[in-house]
């Protein structure tokens, strides 16, 4: 019996407002989100003894612990690769709780990507792999993913109609979520097709939002979870994936670039799970760019290789569809905070409190970014 399976649960979720610009610092936003998550769990900050976050976080555990008033901290961990980190932060806490290294873990992400500038536009020393891409004008994450997208379209007959299906489905979710940045903005197929290019074949609406905001969640043992205020979202299974010869974002230097990290991650995830894709009625799929969704649908086994684009047809990803995704509006239409809003929304689905609740959902898949060393988890009641 795997030690992790169902051993820990998310019992508290918290978030700040989301906006193009917030006044508070990333540190203060982080602390606000963490304290809100602890309030939600009914746990006092002095009980916190574990932290996990992203290597890209600007505030370290020391400052967070000193500011929120944590106790003696006995586990702390950071996960790299930006949008690949989300479920891994929670998974590391679950492993630590299951192994007895801490009892109350907090994971968070705070980011002012809306007002804080674009990372790709800063002066930079070219690293591997950037030294093999940027001198030729492949500058931004959108360019890197557009390159894979064009090849995906070529190999499998995917079209912009399929990418529009993703953008429209996720926008419909946001239109029902008053907290989503795009709550009041309907996106039609005509809007999508008329949008300006960012990097052909990707247009404006294939890109996530630029957002200021922070989110957090609280992880405790399944036993302790029964005593918390809200129904627990049990961490049923968790995995990370860094496949052989993978290269972050520019995964062009391996045998099969369209078989991304999701595949290796999914193999481990389902090996540790009682559930199969057919048992999962709702998913939060990392959506920094629309093409990551069909690629992830394939990697996580909701359809076969090359079938991810066709899977999006007929409103499959929309409210009431075959597999509703990103039910709070995701990174494309709620907020882009490196995918942490997908985790929080996954918990809401398990609690039954989503604005786009899938009735009776017993399980929810939450994924991190396809295209980078990644992670995923299955939450269940």
């Amino acid at each position: 019996m795997p030690a992790l399976k169902d051993a820990a649960a998310i019992v508290g979720i918290g978030e700040t407002a989301f906006a193009k610009r917030l006044e508070d610092s990333e540190k203060k936003l982080a602390c606000r989100a963490i304290l809100a998550a602890l309030d939600d769990a009914g746990i006092h900050p002095s009980e916190v003894d574990g932290f996990a976050s992203y290597t890209l976080e600007t505030t370290d555990e020391v400052e967070i612990a000193r500011t929120v008033g944590a106790g003696d901290v006995t586990f702390f961990s950071q996960v790299g690769y930006g949008g690949g980190a989300g479920p891994a932060t929670v998974g590391h806490l679950a492993l630590a709780v299951a192994a007895g290294q801490c009892r109350v873990g907090v994971a968070w992400r705070s980011r002012k990507r809306g007002s804080g500038g674009r990372p790709w536009a800063g002066a930079q020393q070219l690293s591997v792999p950037a030294q093999w891409t940027r001198p030729w004008g492949l500058l931004r994450p959108v360019d890197e993913i557009a390159m894979l997208t064009r090849r995906y379209m070529h190999e499998y007959g995917a079209t912009r109609e399929h990418l529009a299906n993703v953008a429209i489905a996720v926008r419909k979710m946001a239109n029902r979520n008053p907290r989503a940045l795009m709550h009041d903005r309907v996106l039609t197929r005509e809007d999508y097709m008329a949008a300006r290019w960012i990097s052909e074949p990707l247009c404006l609406f294939d890109n996530c939002l630029e957002t200021d905001g922070a989110l957090a969640c609280v992880v405790v043992s399944a036993e302790r979870a029964r005593d918390c205020r809200e129904p627990p979202a049990t961490i049923h299974a968790f995995a990370q994936g860094l496949p052989r010869q993978h290269q972050t974002m520019v995964n062009y230097w391996c045998e099969d670039p369209l078989r991304g990290p999701a595949w290796a991650c999914a193999e481990q995830l389902y090996r540790r799970s009682d559930l199969r894709p057919a048992d999962i009625p709702v998913a939060q799929i990392y959506d920094a760019f629309t093409p990551l969704v069909p690629l992830s649908l394939e990697g996580y086994g909701f359809c076969g290789r090359g079938e991810g684009a066709a899977f999006t047809e007929g409103g499959a990803l929309e409210p009431g569809g075959r597999l509703p995704i990103n039910t709070s509006g995701g990174g494309l239409s709620e907020a882009y905070v490196h995918g942490f809003n997908l985790i929080v929304e996954g918990v809401r689905q398990i609690r039954g409190t989503s604005v786009n609740q899938v009735e009776g959902a017993q399980a929810c898949l939450v994924t991190a970014g396809e295209g980078v060393p990644t992670s995923a988890m299955i939450l269940r009641r």
């Binding site: 674009r118 536009a121 002066a123 930079q124 020393q125 070219l126 591997v128 792999p129 030294q131 093999w132 891409t133 940027r134 001198p135 030729w136 004008g137 492949l138 500058l139 931004r140 360019d143 557009a146 390159m147 894979l148 064009r150 090849r151 070529h154 300006r196 290019w197 960012i198 990097s199 052909e200 074949p201 010869q245 520019v250 062009y252 230097w253 391996c254 045998e255 670039p257």
Partner: protein, 144 residues
């Protein structure tokens, strides 16, 4: 194009690649144990434990594997050229070796002078080199 920060830094691992470019030759690494090629350069071969790599020249021929056409917002020097093309070339010697580059009409040609609508995945290309500095002669690609 004066984009100093975007010129690749030359280091121990990649120096033979750029030396090859200055000599008008596309070079990649080969595993001394297995003979298998690899790119980008590494200090040891991934194909056999402890195996040292060696550098070997290639034909400089390949086929377009994919391409994009970036539009603003971009870094200023690139915004001035947009829309331009960036291609990935699969090399003839081993199509799983892929180089990022640009498709130009001729050696020294601009990255935005070809109509992107005419670029085709699978089209054969041949390497050319453009001198950007004493050290960096950047490989780009022309239709073969």
């Amino acid at each position: 194009m004066s984009e100093a920060p975007l010129l690749p830094p030359i280091n121990e691992e990649n120096a033979p690649f750029w030396e090859g470019c200055r000599a008008g030759e596309l070079r990649v690494q080969r595993c001394r144990e297995t003979g298998r090629l690899f790119f980008p350069p590494r200090c040891l071969s991934p194909w056999a434990p402890h195996a040292e790599p060696e550098w070997t020249p290639l034909s400089g021929r390949g086929a377009i594997w994919s391409f994009v056409v970036p539009h603003p917002p971009l870094l200023p020097a690139w915004a001035a050229l947009a829309p331009y093309n960036v291609i990935v070339v699969a090399l003839d010697e081993d199509p799983t070796l892929r180089l990022v580059g640009n498709l130009v009409a001729r050696a020294g040609g601009a990255v935005n002078e070809l109509d992107p609508a005419a670029i085709r995945i699978g089209a054969p290309v041949r390497v050319v080199f453009e001198r950007l500095s004493d050290e960096i002669h950047l490989p780009r690609w022309v239709p073969a």
